[in-house]
């Protein structure tokens, strides 16, 4: 599935496709990702008309509905700038599924292919295009990284998060058991098969906590919604103070490398 986007030269402008989850549930992650990019001297453009990549409907088996929503995003990126997405799963949808989604519609297919070629997951963009090496200004801490299945298997960018964290001199990155295993989110899977999804997220949270890390970071807010939601629920059930804080890797990187300034 891996089909790396050809390495672009350092661009002056990029589009930011925030994803509906970041826009509505994790605005901090979006702000921090944008700031991080801007601090690299890049102008970040946020097309106001963006909504959602269409993946929820696509993966649930409602292809026509996914197509209608995806068609709306196709026209938002007229210039030939990279499109940076702070989520491996939404980036994967746009990069790998848009071209097939519009296979029967030549005009849209051409747009989808042009878009597909310049879609980047955020950590991939930071590493592969910007060669970003964050300078650590924080005190020593241990974190654990969760990489989404789409980032890992669809986008093939499971190493970029580790690479970025590895640049931080004072940060120890703990390795969890079964690191490559799904957290159990899977969009509507989490509500259609709540027993299995619940068991998966329970195991994931246990593995993350067993590392002793102070926090979990991830480049996918869908996974974070699931992982942090379960960790907080478990803490409440057991009458405990919050035991597994977490955030988008963009927020962590920004703070460690000097904050907003």
């Amino acid at each position: 599935m891996t089909n790396p986007t050809p390495q672009a030269r350092r661009p002056a402008d990029v589009y930011f496709f925030a994803t509906c989850v970041v826009d509505q549930f994790f605005p901090d992650a979006g702000m921090d990702a944008i700031t991080l990019l801007e601090r690299q001297g890049i102008r970040v453009h946020f097309p106001e008309d963006q909504t959602c990549c269409g993946q929820p409907a696509y993966s649930s088996g409602f292809e026509e509905e996914a197509r209608r929503v995806a068609a709306q995003q196709l026209t938002l990126f007229p210039n030939d700038w990279p499109v940076v997405v702070p989520s491996g799963s939404c980036a994967g949808m746009m990069k790998h599924h848009y071209p097939t989604l519009f296979a029967a519609d030549p005009a849209r297919k051409a747009l989808a292919e042009k878009l597909s070629a310049r879609v980047y997951e955020l950590t991939q963009f930071l590493v592969e295009v910007l060669d970003f090496k964050p300078q650590d200004c924080g005190s020593p801490c241990t974190v654990v990284l969760h990489t989404s299945c789409s980032a890992r298997r669809e986008m093939g960018v499971h190493l970029t998060g580790h690479k970025l964290l590895g640049e931080l001199a004072q940060v120890t990155v703990a390795r969890q058991e079964h690191e490559a295993e799904c957290c159990g989110f899977g969009g509507t899977f989490s509500i259609k098969q709540p027993e299995i999804s619940g068991a998966m997220v329970e195991d994931k949270v246990k593995a993350l906590k067993a590392t002793g890390a102070e926090r979990v970071v991830s480049a996918d807010c869908g996974c974070l919604m699931n992982i942090l939601g379960h960790a907080a629920w478990r803490d409440k059930q057991e009458g405990r103070a919050p035991s597994l804080p977490g955030e988008h890797i963009a927020s962590f990187l920004l703070r460690r490398s000097g904050g907003e300034q």
């Binding site: 509906c20 549930f25 605005p27 909504t51 649930s60 669809e154 899977f189 919604m225």
Partner: protein, 478 residues
Amino acid sequence: MSEHTLHFKPAEGFRARSKAVVDSPFLRQSFRGAMDFLMSKRAAQFPDPEELESLRSLGEAIRQYNLAKLPDLLLQLESRLTVNGIKVHWAETPDEANAIILGIVEGHGATRMVKGKSMVSEEIELNHAAEAAGIEALESDMGEYIVQLANEKPSHIIMPAIHKTKEEIARLFHEKVPGVDYTDNVDALIQIGRNVLRRKFLEAEIGLSGVNFAVAETGTLCLVENEGNGRMCTTAPAIHIAITGIEKIVEKLEHVPPLLSLLTRSATGQNISTYFNMISSPRKPGEKDGPEEVHLVLLDNGRSQAYADEQLRKTLQCIRCGACMNHCPVYTRIGGHAYGTTYPGPIGKIISPHMLGLDATAGLTTASSLCGACGEVCPVKIPIPELLIRLRNEAFSAPQAKPAMRGQGAGHSPLISAIWRGWALVYRSPALYRAASWLGSRFGWLLPAHQGAWTSVREPLRPAPQRLRDRLKERNKA
């Protein structure tokens, strides 16, 4: 087909069966341990990712090449086998396959059959049919033997008794095998099984086996196994009956070694299996052993439906290694029985709808987070997540006049479809999305604390009080 198969819909009760396993810490631990073991065995076989990738591409190419020529290859296989003296039978349904097999058995006045491991014989529920006809059908693969003693079905296509602990097997042998004392010594247990089976190999008139690869150009049936029971089944009894799905054909002998290597390394992490049998004819004049008659039953059972569709055809690339289940986080949580289908796990979810109809299996298509671990390890690169999405489309769309699949539209719900149409209406319109997400940010705190299945193990979801777009606007004004 037995009554059981006709009326049992695996998707019904799937959640209850999964929950029963998920709620048992013992079973959770036991499946996790077994799958971890199998994953590490496979990983050790493929230390070089580049070699693995090129082997998988080769495996995929071989399977696709042969599937493209399948109709011709089936005829070529039939004529080669006939020349070699092997009788070929065609069965469209499990009922027909059982009738053919039992017809051969009864035609010889036989009453005893020993079976090598065959998932296709599980698929047609041959043991039930044989029992109903008064024929003893004894499983001789150790795992299958255990499952049969326990009156259960296999929970894994390669390791049928993977759900059982050695203590459970010890109790089972003590209770079911006459004159056996309780022992949980694994070697002793294997010896007990061997002693029972050795006698049966000598007594049985019929040996039944599956087929891993059927070679069209030579008329050869290839059988992969580890215990030697497959060789016994195919040589000791006077009659050998092999059964296979129509997709297991390769044109050339040279197609076998790469597939065999991928199969054993992916399945059990073995470089090669202990036994590899190539059966090309019955006993020839002057030969001292081997069966006097060899039959091959070629079963369709929904495979030609998958074959007819370019995308669904990829389902038939499968060489039944089971790596997809070993690496599946869902299978690891619930084991094989919860699925209720002969073939569990990811491959089961994509092939069972063709065998049983989507009306019986639509709900199983949702039992995947689409994490992609199955597709990543598949030795013949079946795009399992992509096929699951396709099956969801087939299951949940409104019934069509000319469906690609039996049971298409069985999972259709006008309400759910309307919800998705409404969702698309909002998300395709920037204005409606802006309005809806603004309302969410303002009034999200009004959302209930109980949000259905989501909050069964998670805190409720609440939109942030300010959307990213609002924050950006504010910042850019400042």
